[in-house]
Every structure is written in C-alpha cells, then in structure tokens.
C-alpha cells in the first residue's frame, strides 16, 4: 500500500482531529496572565461632528486601566491601506462617518468592566447630513468628507487601458448597433446589495509586548497575518524582525479577515503603552457594523444583439458603494469586476463603475470581491435577452463564447489576457448530463400543487490566483503597510535529519485545509509519507515572507512556491541518493518514503538515510553544501481564470412568494485538482453564500444611516434547511501559468450562484410577465412581484 500522496487524491484532513475534539486554538481562547480587555465607544450617528468627549467618569470605574481617544493615537497616523483615497483614523478624530465607528477605546481588567466603562463615557455629537442613497452620493447632494470636492473616489472604465476618446468611439459603435433594425436592446436596472460576510468566529486580537526584548507579538484572526505584522512594525516604529504575527485557527474569513483593522494596530499599541497583554474580541454586533462589508452595487446592464442570438454589445453602468473610508482594497474591488466584465464572451463590452463614498461601513473583499457583482449583471442580462428573443439561454451563451482555439492567452474584450479555457466544452458537459435533462423534464412537468417551477442556468469565468508581480504598479501589494512585496507565493521545505519534513508556508487557512493540501504537494514531489510531513502556517517568526490567503490564490501561488521548493530539495536529494546507490542521478526516483533506481526497486535508500548524509557534510558528494532544505518565491505570469456552468431548479409558492431550491448542479473547471474532497467542499460553501445573497441577506441602512441588520436574527444566513444537496462535476483545463496547472476554487461557487437562482425564479414567474426580481428574493418581494405582474396584466 502506498502511503504517499498523489495529486488528485482524497486524503482526510489532518487539521480535523483537533477541531472535532474542541482542541483547536482560536485567538479568543488565549488567556494570558494579567491580560487587559478592550471595549470601544462607538458612534451612534452615521455622520456627525464630535463636539466633546468626557472620559472622567469612565476612568474612575472599577478595574479601568486606560481610556484613549484620537488625541492619544493621532500621532500614529491613519489606518494604512492599499488604495487609501480616504484613510480611516484609528479612533474617530473630530468627526464620525459611519454608525459604529470607534470613538473611544477603554481598557479594563475584565471585559465586563471595559463594557461598563464604555457606558460611562459621555460623548457629544453635532449631527451632519448623511449620504446613504447611491444616486444621491453620485450627485454630490451632500458630501461625506469635508475638503473633498466629490463623493466619487474613482471611476473604473473598460475596456481597461482605453482612454476617453477610445471609449467615445466604442459608445458610437454601440449606438450604431442599437440603431440596426435586426437587433433588440434589453436593459435592466438591478441591485447587487450590500452584504455582511458573517464568519462564525468574530474577529479577535491579542497583543503581548516584551519590553526587555523589545518584541511585539500580535495574535489575530487574520487571513493576512504578514500584513498585520508589517503594519504594526511600520506604525509603531518597531523593526519588522521584532514583530511576530500569529494567526492560529481562523474561524472563517471570506475576505472579511483580509482587510487590516484599526484594532489590529490599537491593541498592540496599548499593550506597549501599558506593558500588559491586551485582548479585544468583537461582539456579533461589532462584527456586523465594523468588519468590512461587501458588494453594494446599483447598476444598469444593457445588451444589444440580433434576434438569432448574436450579441453585439454589452454595457454596464454602476454605482459602487465604498462606505465611509478606504480600507484594504476598497476601491480595487470593483476593478476586480472589470477583470471579468465581459465574462466568457467575445462581444464588445463597455463598463463604467463609479466608486462613491457613503456614510456606511467600508466595503472591501467579500468572497468573490467584484467578480460576483460583474458576473451577476452580465449573466442576468444574458438571461433577459435570451428570454426576449425566445432562445434557449444555453444556446445563446454557446453562440457568443470566446472559442477554445483562441487559448491559451485569449484577449478578453475588456482587455485582459486569459490563461486557458474551453467554455463550450464545459457548458456542453452540463447540458449532456442526466441531471440537467432531469431538471428540464421536471420544469416542464405539469404540477398539481399549484407551485410555479423555474429552471435557471448561467456560466461564469473568474480571475484569481493573484498575482503577477507587475500588479504592484496598479496598487496590488502590501507597500502601503511598509512591506513592498508583490502578491508572491512563498514556501519552505526542510527535510530533517530523521527523514521527517517541515513545510512552512506564507499563506494560511481559514478552513481551506492547507495542512492537508500542502502535505500532498510535498509528499507527491518527494515521496515522503504524509504522516512524516508537518505543515505550519500563520506565524511570521518562522514563515517565509507572507502575503496571505485571499482571491483564491493559495494553491495556485503559494502552492506553486512550495512545489518549487520541494523540487529543489528533490534535486539535491537525488544527487545524494545517486552517490549512495552508485547510480546515475537521472535514474533516481522517489516513492514510498525513499529513493530507488528506476527499474531496480531493490536498489533503494530511505529518506532518513539521505538526510543523515545531508547533515554530515563530510559524507556528501563533492561540492555539495550540507543541509536539506529549500525556499522558493513564486510569482505567476498571469492570474488564473477558472470557469464553469451552473443550473438550478426552483419552485415558487404563488400564495406566499416562498422560493424553494429543488435541485442544484454545477460543472466547474479549476484546472488540475489536488484534493477533490476539499475542492468540492469549497464549491459547496461558495454556493451557499451565493444562495444567501440571492434569497436572504442584505445589510440594510435606514435613512439616518443606522444599520438595521446588525444581528443574525435580522441578517439571516443560509441554514441547513434552505439548500439541497449539490450535484457537482468538473472538467479539467489546466492553467499554463503555474507548474501544477491548478487554478483556484475558493470563490467560484459564490461567483456562479446568485444569478443562477434569480434566473430560475424569473423563469418560474415569466409566464406571469415578471422580468426581474431584485435580491434578496425574500418571500414578500417575490409575492409583490407576482401581485404587480398580475395587476399590470
């Protein structure tokens, strides 16, 4: 029996034994001696001047050790961000710009004492007009920030890199299409609503300062612990090599734990000020109002095409809600939508995305980040167009795909080179499947229960696995945090003297199973048994320079770095083994815990024996250095571009508007697969989040800027009864931008989901005349759409 892993094999997760026995360590589980606890006074207003803050009563409360305001931390500067058009003060400085903004930080001996002291702080505010509605924000009716002429921070246009003259030529060309008499033009204004990411683990930060060793240790439930360590070093004036960032188990991230937060700087700062360990764990309410939110687009999609399904042009004009401040990638998120703005298609595409500030919490990366929004607008209008001309939506898509012959390196109409793709093959795989046929049959079956039935489908392409070093020039790096590293991957592989291996990586999981997947990569390359490989992550003390986990990049970028480091180790080990076995290096093969000569399995040496020689340099072949470890940095030449086809069958109860998902299937293509079980799990979870957006979720701010959905009762996420089993299959189109041919799968499920479900509901309601239902499609909204359609019929 082989105990080493091949890529493409299912291996049970190595992280699970601790987690299923309650023995995993999350940040909030830390309880350090003498630890102080933090609570924040938060703004009750969405936009106001702070006229006074009286902390005297709070300072005198039992157990309170310190109360800080902007006056204490102003000298540290604004929260660093990658695209900081409008930076956030660490504590509100004279003005608050969204409800829940941190105004005062209280430290006390217990969490209860800190919360109690928060209530004793007396802060006065002078309210200012609030900017909530996106169209009013764009019109600059009121301004969010003083001294800024416009609420619009940036306008992204596509095709990317085309100047205004070129865009005007494209507009003129599209106008000519629209004037033709053999075309139809279909247009819809649609909402892609604001969402709250809702990792089940609230964010938590613990910092320890050693005055003696001048060493800062920051524990944070972060996807990007290297960025946290860099920012702490830069802002607190501590050399980077005296800051240790640790992300232990991270209880779900979904992009929300990618952004750097003010508390990740304030807690270490306070730990140094007070020379005591400090902890802050956000409440669920704070997680809703102060962890970044996602999406928030209001846009109009327009498609022009012939009556036989040839699309001539697609346009999207959208207003994108940035919230009050820029955090990590805030304004870059819609830009990620530009990457996939034309989807899998070859037709002319024009995009205009106006990014506006509002008096709401910042938006940033939430699972998919710009790409679900862009694909939503595109695939909804493709569906509406297909319906308008009476063609099968799958056939309309087939007719407009970029052909497989254009790959590798097809240029998308929005101006990006794509790695590999075979979209027609992927969609055809879904159409030919018995599951899809069954859904079609079920849709057309007469029903006796009065339910309306709909079949929805859509296809998607994604850009992920960032990324190319040159993206630094577009602002994609941690240079804003004082660490000018591109979005490289990194991995370090060390074979120890006893033949075991340590793999230390610069990216860490928040559920994705890195310990298992990375052990498979190394085991496959070196032939070392899985049991003898230990993967560690999330500690900047040991790790190679780390970037983090986001944008479905870990396997494609950091996995590739680890693959290359393994290969370096293997090459050296092959030379040692060749010397020991008196064979040619070219004939050395690795499997089942050792090296052997090709064709002579008996001429064999174990890894432990190879390692022993490596650490006794006098026994090494001439010219070889001692040791058996290697480090690699990997910078891909392009993003990777996964794609797929999705379909679902729904029933709608016309009496209540309740939507029920009966069947779901997808055919995803993420290139080569390392562990199919983990890949499927990523797709399952991604689908559920897309379903959540389509059916339930919405971050609702009222006219005064109060977040009305700050708890899980008001912000329902998908439960077990809301989704069916998911029927997954895949096609395999390896990428050519990394050595393993892997793309990325963390976000694909989400990117493909929401529009598929809306398309299905519209399909069910189309006989009544309904053309669109905005998300979230809660029963009341669906019921209302049915009533409105009946009234106008």
């Amino acid at each position: 029996m082989s105990t080493t892993s091949a890529l493409g094999g299912v291996v049970r997760r190595r992280e699970d034994p601790a987690l299923i026995q309650g023995k995993g360590l999350y940040v909030d589980d830390l309880n350090l001696h003498g630890m102080l606890h933090v609570a924040f006074v938060r703004s009750p207003f969405a936009h106001a001047k702070i006229t006074s803050i009286d902390t005297a009563a709070a300072q005198a409360m039992p157990g309170v050790r310190a109360v800080y305001t902007a006056d204490d931390v102003r000298h540290l500067g604004l929260l660093p961000a990658q695209a900081a058009a409008i930076g956030r003060p660490l504590l509100a400085d004279g003005e608050v710009n969204h409800m829940g903004e941190a105004v005062v930080m209280v430290l006390a001996e217990t969490r209860a004492q800190a919360q109690d002291a928060v209530d004793a702080v007396d802060a006065d505010y002078d309210p200012l007009p609030v900017v909530i509605d996106l169209k009013e924000a764009l019109a600059n009716t009121n301004l969010v920030h003083e001294g800024v002429e416009s609420n619009t921070l940036i306008t992204w246009t596509a095709p990317f890199g085309v100047e205004e003259d070129g865009l005007n030529e494209l507009r003129a060309k599209i106008d000519e299409y629209k004037a033709r008499d053999d075309v139809v033009t279909v247009s819809l204004e649609m909402v892609n609503q604001r969402l709250i990411p809702v990792a089940i683990e609230p964010r938590s930060v613990v910092a320890e300062w050693s005055a003696g060793y001048q060493q800062m240790t920051v524990h944070s439930s972060s996807q990007t612990i290297g960025a946290v360590a860099s920012a702490v070093a830069g802002m607190l004036g501590i050399p980077y090599n005296q800051v240790r960032g640790i992300a232990p188990e991270v209880g779900g991230g979904f992009g929300a734990k990618l952004a750097l937060y003010a508390d990740e700087l304030l807690i270490p700062w306070a730990a140094r000020e007070l020379d005591a360990p400090v902890k802050y764990t956000e409440t669920r309410r704070e997680a809703a109002s102060n962890t970044i939110q996602g999406r928030g687009w209001l846009g109009t999609s327009t498609i022009t095409g012939t009556r036989d399904g040839q699309v001539l042009s697609y346009e999207i004009d959208a207003i994108c809600d940035m919230g009050a401040y820029c955090q990590d990638l805030t304004v870059a998120i819609p830009f990620l939508g530009v990457f996939v703005g034309s989807g899998q298609y070859g037709f002319d595409t024009r995009m205009q995305l106006d990014c506006v500030v509002t008096n709401k919490q910042t938006t940033d990366a939430y699972r998919g980040a710009g790409r679900p929004e862009a694909i939503y607008y595109l695939e909804r209008i493709m569906d509406a167009y297909s319906r308008e001309i009476g063609m099968d939506p799958a056939q309309v898509r087939m007719k407009n795909y970029i052909p497989s012959e254009s790959f590798p390196g097809a240029m998308s109409p929005v101006g990006f080179a794509m790695d590999t793709g075979d979209y027609a093959m992927n969609l055809q795989t879904m159409l030919d499947s018995p599951e899809y046929s069954a859904m079609k049959a079920a849709r057309d079956q007469p029903r006796s229960d009065g339910k309306l039935v709909g079949l929805g489908m859509s296809t998607y392409v994604e850009a992920c696995g960032f990324g190319p070093s040159a993206l630094v020039d577009l602002g994609f790096s941690w240079s804003g945090y004082g660490q000018p590293s591109a979005f490289n991957g990194s991995g370090l592989v060390r074979v120890n003297p006893d033949g075991t291996a340590n793999v230390i990586i610069g990216t860490g999981p928040s559920g994705q199973g890195h310990q298992t997947t990375w052990a498979q990569i190394v085991s496959n390359e070196l032939g070392i048994e899985m049991d003898k490989i230990r993967v560690t992550h999330g500690d900047t003390k040991d790790a190679p320079i780390t970037i983090g986990t986001f944008g479905s990049r870990s396997a494609a970028v950091d996995g590739s770095a680890t693959f290359e480091a393994s290969r370096k180790v293997r090459e050296k080990a092959a030379r040692i083994a060749a010397d020991l076995l008196e064979a040619s290096e070219a004939d050395i093969q690795f499997a089942d815990g050792g090296a052997h000569v090709a064709g002579s399995p008996d001429k064999r040496v174990e890894w432990a024996a190879i390692a022993e020689v490596a650490y006794q340099p006098h026994r090494m072949p001439d010219g070889e250095e001692g040791g058996l470890e290697a480090h690699a940095i990997f910078s891909p030449g392009n993003a990777t571009w996964p794609f797929g086809s999705v379909a679902c069958l729904v029933t709608v109860d016309p009496e209540t508007g309740d939507v029920s998902i009966e069947q779901w299937m997808s055919v995803d293509d993420c290139g080569n697969v390392i562990n199919p079980m983990i890949v499927d799990g990523q797709i399952h979870g991604g689908i559920a989040q897309g379903v959540g957006q389509a059916l339930f979720e919405e971050a609702i701010y009222d006219d005064e800027g109060n977040l009305l959905t700050a708890g899980l009762i008001d912000y329902p996420i998908v439960t077990a009864v809301d989704v069916p089993m998911f029927n997954l299959s895949r096609t395999t189109t390896p990428t050519d931008v990394n050595p393993m041919g892997v793309k990325g799968i963390g976000e694909a499920g989400t990117i493909g989901a929401a529009q598929t479900l809306v398309n299905a509901v519209v399909d069910a309601l189309a006989p009544l005349g309904v053309k669109h239902v905005d998300m979230p499609m809660r029963p009341r909204r669906v019921w209302q759409a049915i009533q409105d359609a009946k009234a106008s019929a």
Binding site: G22, N31, S43, E201, G685
Partner: protein, 199 residues
C-alpha cells in the same frame, strides 16, 4: 446635545443579547458570588460564580473548556451548543446557576478513552467541517439528534441542525457526516463517500 453614546447603537438589541450583556456585566469584581456544582464531562466540578454568569463563560473562562465557542451571543448561531442532561442547549443563553446539579457534556468530553464518537468520526470521514468554529456545537446537536431519531431522513437531519449555523460547508457534507454517524450507531455500513479516500 448629550446622548448616552450607546443608546442608539444598541437600539435594535434583542432581549437575548441584552441578557448576554447583563451576564457580562455581572462578571465584575465585587459582585456577590454563589456556589455551583455540576458534572462536566464526567468530572464533578464546583465553582464560585456571579449569579448571572452564563454557562458558556463558566465553561470557557473558569473551566478553560474553550472548545465551546461564542459566535453570536444571541442563541442564534449555535456555536456554543453543549449537552445538558441529554438535551442540546445553547450555553450563551443559560445561566450557570441553572445548570446546578446537571450532567454536562462539552465537545472535549465526547470521545471516550481516546476513541472518537461516531459523529466526530463522521465529520472527519465526510469533510463535515472546514474552519471548525461551528463544529463543536454542530457535532453536539447531531449527537442529540441521533439519540432522539436513530435513522433520520435527509430532511429530518437538516431540520435537526437548523439551529446551528455554518458559513463554510453549505451543509452538504455535514448532512453526509451525520448520515455516516447514524449508520455507524445503528451498526450498519455507512454509504460510500462521494470520493475515494486514498489515505
């Protein structure tokens, strides 16, 4: 204009959350304390707690059983689920005092003599967890579900864990994990995995 800073921020508080906050406030030093005794994971424990200490805080802070997680403080997410006298209970909405004399099982006490409970085994075998944060509560809910219904249908499983939220898995493999455990507990061979496990 003077306002209590938190008044409007917290105006949408549910009763449950108010109770949670209250529980925290009574953890303050100087609060009158009371003796509690119970059995946790087979061990008799007793402690000195403020009367309104919530069970989840007693377990996590006093007994250092940190496998019980706090996810929402509103009894909605279920990450804090423990078994109290045979019933799955959300320990963020139960007072420690209410558990006086109770038999409590937390995730740390589910495996016996180092052998995983079939539900734990099922979650491992069928990839029923990703980040692991909801997992302890999810597993304990599943344990009581299978005690009440030895052979649940898929719909009954879904309904049985509706009170436990998972943001990672889409529940697909959690349902499979519970089906696996149910079969094991009934002495049957579990249905094969959707994938061939190689190691």
């Amino acid at each position: 204009m003077v306002l209590g800073t938190n008044l409007r921020f917290f105006r949408h508080i549910g009763v449950v959350e108010a109770r949670f906050q209250l529980g925290l406030n009574f953890l303050m030093k100087g609060e009158p304390h009371m003796q509690v005794s119970m059995t946790v994971n087979g061990q008799a424990v007793s402690g000195d707690v403020a009367p309104r200490t919530l069970l989840v805080h007693y377990l996590r802070e006093d007994l250092r059983l940190t496998g019980t997680h706090v996810g929402c403080e509103t009894s909605y997410c279920g990450a804090c689920t423990v078994i109290v006298d045979g019933k799955a209970v959300k320990s963020c909405t139960m007072l420690t005092a209410q558990a006086e004399g109770a038999e409590i099982t937390t995730i740390e006490g589910l495996a016996e003599n180092g052998d995983l409970h079939p539900v734990q085994e099922g979650f491992w075998e069928r990839h029923g967890l990703q980040c692991g944060f909801c997992t302890p509560g999810m597993i304990l809910s599943a344990v009581t579900l299978l005690e009440e219904n030895a052979d649940p249908s898929e719909d009954e499983i879904r309904l049985g864990i509706e009170g436990n939220l998972c943001r990672c898995t889409g529940y697909h493999n959690i349902v499979k994990a519970i089906e696996y455990a149910g079969a094991k507990l009934r002495g049957e061979e579990p249905a094969p995995a959707e994938w061939e496990v190689k190691a």
